[in-house]
Symmetry: C2
Subunit: 634 residues, 2 copies
């Protein structure tokens, strides 16, 4: 088993697989049970280690990374194989106990929102675990399985490599199975790697073929039956429309969806979680539908349709304004990753990815008539600044101030094709929904609508920035986050600067957790956050060199060597705007418009927007009322 | 059940109990499933809500709070009742899913290190849970029990109040049981509180009596038998010594330990986790014992003894230099919270708290002779600055620079009676062990030696500061932390400033995770952290007022009202020292020596100490070698 041609180490095997399934960055924090594995990452030719400030931030960032579609994909013959097709995979490495538990909220978010994430945990040697030794980073009672049991609740699959200490073939088979599950189901998997198995010799033959990510083929009879039923329902309907949702993005049917829209000629809408799955400048695009919390014109249009074709729907409370769709289920066709529902009937195992091309083909012939109808009834979606009257109606204060009603269409005008937009849970995510995004061929809007963990977006912005930096065509990455959420994970700006990334971060400063105020306790102190001087904050991360001049030359050499591969840090720049004019002037500057590296050195921009407390996007007001009701404290 | 004299709300009941068991602060982050409960906290007469920057920081801070002994205790007749006797309890409130998972690492640390912590989670209404609704903050698959199952692994007891929606009496009985378990076993408990039960009417009669925290009485025959065996062993021995460890602090036998030391006349040593359980200026105190990693003089003394009397021992790897005690088990008496071990025999259920006073009484008569022996053989422990020769031997660079060998005895000279000292895992905790602490009657040294989660100490310093601020006699709170660990949870300085607290925070800047470098990869990039400008960082939190002048008067009134009870923020001050002379001069200033509020306004001090990369305290070098060996990557 030590023939170098036939074997490799378990650690190297794992890294090769990670590259094959779409990872180029591995994030996390070193700990004494994972450093031997980190050696392999640091020395790897393709993979790059990105050390985060803490493990929760690492998981959030890996989540953002995995959400970012590849724009330069390898052409593939067989589109039913998910392999390296548009998708990235997030990878986080933590250490036993202390490190892994810090990451759990981020991992659970990936489970909830269907993001493929590989969580690799460096654990004590198989010998120490066998002895139930009272090691640091343990609960002190010999329960070495407690942490993996916790992760099991939020992972789709799990492998303890310690179970294969004397079985290299078994180890790689188990590993392959778990990694494939994660990608196919778009959910987190957990891999524990004991220190003494990093260099375990394992057969490397399997690596010659990429991991099989082939979805099972639909039963052809079931698929045909399902297609017939769908077409019958469509033919009976006078006015079907398409609604694109989260799982269209998560389960890789972006191209199939566009094909269906084009072939059918129907108008198409997105949900909040499906936003940007379909190009919002597409001539058939009619806006965002969120049940009762939808802009009137769009709501009327969607609810006048007599058939909803839902692609990858995920009907959570915030994605549907507390389950307020008006169309009856009998008039709904729901295409899912693992089944199709027509009315109240379910076709289990009929997967949309294989069905959709057939549905598109069947619809193609009558496209033109439908298109004429669609165009005639399409709501007009655009980024139109409110009149002063409209602004006041929506609660704006002084005419100079930057109201929520003004901000979001103005941001919509600022955005351009190729941008990646992130919005934190809260005013930012609700506000962003009203933006008509610029032309995009791949999803470019990221928000954690279902899991909704505040603090997610800033590290996720790191992950999106890392992903876009892998592309030839550099994109602007733009983040909107509130001052409350910002404080949870703010230090991850440090990693952005260290990695030479230049996102534009807009912080909406309104003295606290505005979404919470809208739901409960508008004047409560617990919804206030401390005030931060954000100018000083970003300056913390600007280039500093504090090398002690009192160090020995040996120490200096070590320091130089270990920093020799550092990329050129970003510059940082802070701006603060309080009025519409100031915001407008800033957004029009060349630097903001470009937003990419000059002379090989990026600039990270933090723009603080001072906004009024109590002001909130209209969509948030609607959702807050619904939530208030459902969270009754009586 | 709605007679106001006989009932109260479940939320109020819980708060009253928390005060009774030793909480005056409740920490956490608001979320939409807990805000109704936060209303009650904000309006409470005794309890104070402290909002943290994130949930992990909240849990760490609550841990620090619970570690801090009360110096002003209520006198009690019966010392076997733990109630409100010296001890505080940490309380954290989070929201379902997103909030609670972020706190888990901090909760697990409390489990591992035996800290009583009440984790209260605001969860969706019983109705929503019953429907398995697809709510935000869920995993999206209807599993509402996943998160509590995760917490179950790291909690000693758990109550889901949703199980008692129509049974107020049952709810408070279950709650009482869980809270009592947490305090008695000094470990975390989990309480989930659905939104709709915060105002559930429950009988309040039980509140008239404080929660019974009475430990079961030792079986008198077993205890007598045990005492006889112990005394026989002691009488046979020529040279017994006492070693005080973690559980002496955690299980409330500080007074009993001092009594035993005084009555016996034996010399007494502490372990790392037991440090400060016994006053280090006590004439019988001989130093810190960590097995093979002990200062030679102390090691020789301990290992020449022919009987070890261990009080509350917790033999973890870092607490014993990888299990390297030399004294055989047959020559060991181990007193525990729930049993006594004499040699290889175990007396189950014989609790040290009740046994120790009897042991002390039995030893009293021959004290004087023993004391003479003790004094004659006692190692000299003091804070003596190294000679240049010693410093160089321990790896110091230039004579002006601040070496690890110099720093810790210098810090020992700086500390004074009444100070609280926190040390982060890493160079700080290993370095602190060598300090002889000033006179103290209660534990004043805090470090997370067993769990060892980097990032713990900064928020824990908030908790210790909150606790000491409750005392009449204000204490200095002094923290040592490395630049690597600092980055994980750094923003919690914000909460310290907002709460008007003034700890002194020393950051040891040596370009990364030095403890990791000592264990593995001294020149690896993954052990480098980004450089921060800590002056800019602390200035982030200095008083800023960004109130928008464009807000309406209604908004301004709301803002004013919700900030009206804010305490006066601390000032912040940054200093940087690079040489021994600079450090010395700074430590001698009046402001540092005082370190408490002037004119009612505290100053938070951050002192950056530039140190050489690769330099580490001697104790860390020893432990790193042992860990390296046990974490073999081959």
């Amino acid at each position: 088993m030590t023939d170098a041609n036939k074997t490799t180490t378990l650690g190297e095997y794992l890294l090769t697989r990670l590259v094959q399934i779409g990872a180029q960055k591995i994030q996390g924090v070193p700990g004494d049970f994972n450093m031997g594995f980190l050696d392999l990452i640091e020395d790897h030719k393709v993979l790059k280690w990105v050390g985060n400030c803490n493990e929760l931030n690492a998981a959030y960032s890996a989540d953002g990374y995995a959400r970012t579609a590849k724009t330069t994909t390898t052409k593939q013959q067989d589109k039913s194989d998910l392999h390296s097709h548009m998708n990235r995979v997030g990878v986080v490495v933590t250490t036993f106990g202390v490190g892994e538990l810090s990451a759990l909220n981020g991992v659970a978010g990936c489970f909830s929102e269907r993001i493929p994430l590989v969580h690799i945990v460096g654990v004590p040697s198989t010998e120490a675990q066998g002895n139930r030794a009272l090691l640091h980073h343990t609960l002190g009672d010999g329960r070495f399985d407690a942490f993996e049991e916790m992760s099991r609740k939020i992972s789709i699959s799990l492998v303890k490599l310690g179970d294969y200490a004397s079985d290299g073939s078994g180890a790689v088979r188990a590993l392959d199975k778990v990694l494939a599950e994660g990608v196919k189901q778009a959910r987190p998997v957990y891999v524990s790697l004991p220190t003494d198995l990093v260099h375990l010799q394992v057969p490397k033959e399997a690596l010659e073929k990429p991991l099989s990510l082939q979805l099972p083929r639909n039963d052809q009879d079931a698929e045909k039956n399902c297609l017939d039923v769908i077409l019958e329902q469509i033919n009976k309907a006078k006015d079907p429309i398409i609604i694109v949702d989260a799982c269209a993005i998560r389960h890789g049917v972006i191209e199939e969806t566009l094909e269906l829209v084009n072939a059918s000629g129907y108008s198409v809408f997105s949900t909040p979680m499906g936003k940007s799955a379909i190009n919002e400048t597409h001539p058939q695009f009619g806006g965002i539908y969120v049940g009762s919390n939808t802009v009137k014109e769009v709501k009327d249009r969607v609810e006048s349709a007599d058939l909803l074709i839902q692609v990858g729907s995920l009907l959570s409370d915030f994605n549907t304004a507390n389950f307020s769709y008006r169309t009856p289920r009998s008039a709904t066709i729901a295409l899912h990753s693992n089944r199709v529902e027509t009315g109240f009937a379910t076709f289990e195992g009929v997967r949309m990815k294989q069905l959709m091309p057939k549905l598109s083909a069947a619809l193609k012939s009558k496209k033109d008539a439908r298109l004429t109808f669609t165009e005639k009834h399409l709501p007009k979606v655009d980024n139109i600044l409110p009149t002063r009257e409209e602004e006041v109606q929506l609660g704006a204060g002084s005419p100079d101030g930057i109201s929520q009603a003004y901000l979001w269409p103005r941001v919509g005008q600022f955005l351009k094709s190729g941008d990646q937009l992130l919005a934190e849970t809260g005013t930012s995510s609700f506000g962003s929904l009203s933006i008509r995004l610029p032309s995009n061929s791949l999803p470019c809007f990221h928000s954690q609508i279902l899991w909704g963990s505040i603090g997610w977006a800033l590290p996720a912005c790191l992950g999106v920035s890392l992903a876009t930096s892998e592309e030839n065509k550099k994109s602007r990455v733009v983040l909107f986050i509130g001052d409350g959420s910002f404080q949870l994970t703010a230090q991850e700006i440090s990693t952005m600067v260290r990695e030479g990334l230049g996102p534009i971060i807009f912080v909406l400063s309104n003295d606290g957790y505005e979404i919470e105020r809208q739901i409960h306790g508008p004047e409560r102190r617990y919804n206030n956050t401390a005030r931060w001087d954000l100018k000083a904050f970003v300056e913390t991360f600007s280039d500093v060199n504090k090398t002690s001049d009192i160090q020995s030359s040996k120490q200096k050499t070590e320091m130089k060597e270990s920093h020799v591969k550092d990329v050129k840090q970003s510059k940082v720049r802070y701006d603060c705007v309080r009025t519409k004019d100031e915001l407008d002037a800033l957004l029009k500057t060349d630097e903001m418009a470009k937003g990419v590296a000059e002379e090989g050195r990026s600039t990270l921009r933090l723009v603080e927007i001072i906004m009024a407390r109590g002001d909130a996007p209209k969509a948030l007001l609607g959702q807050a009322q619904a939530t208030q009701k459902s969270n009754s404290y009586e």
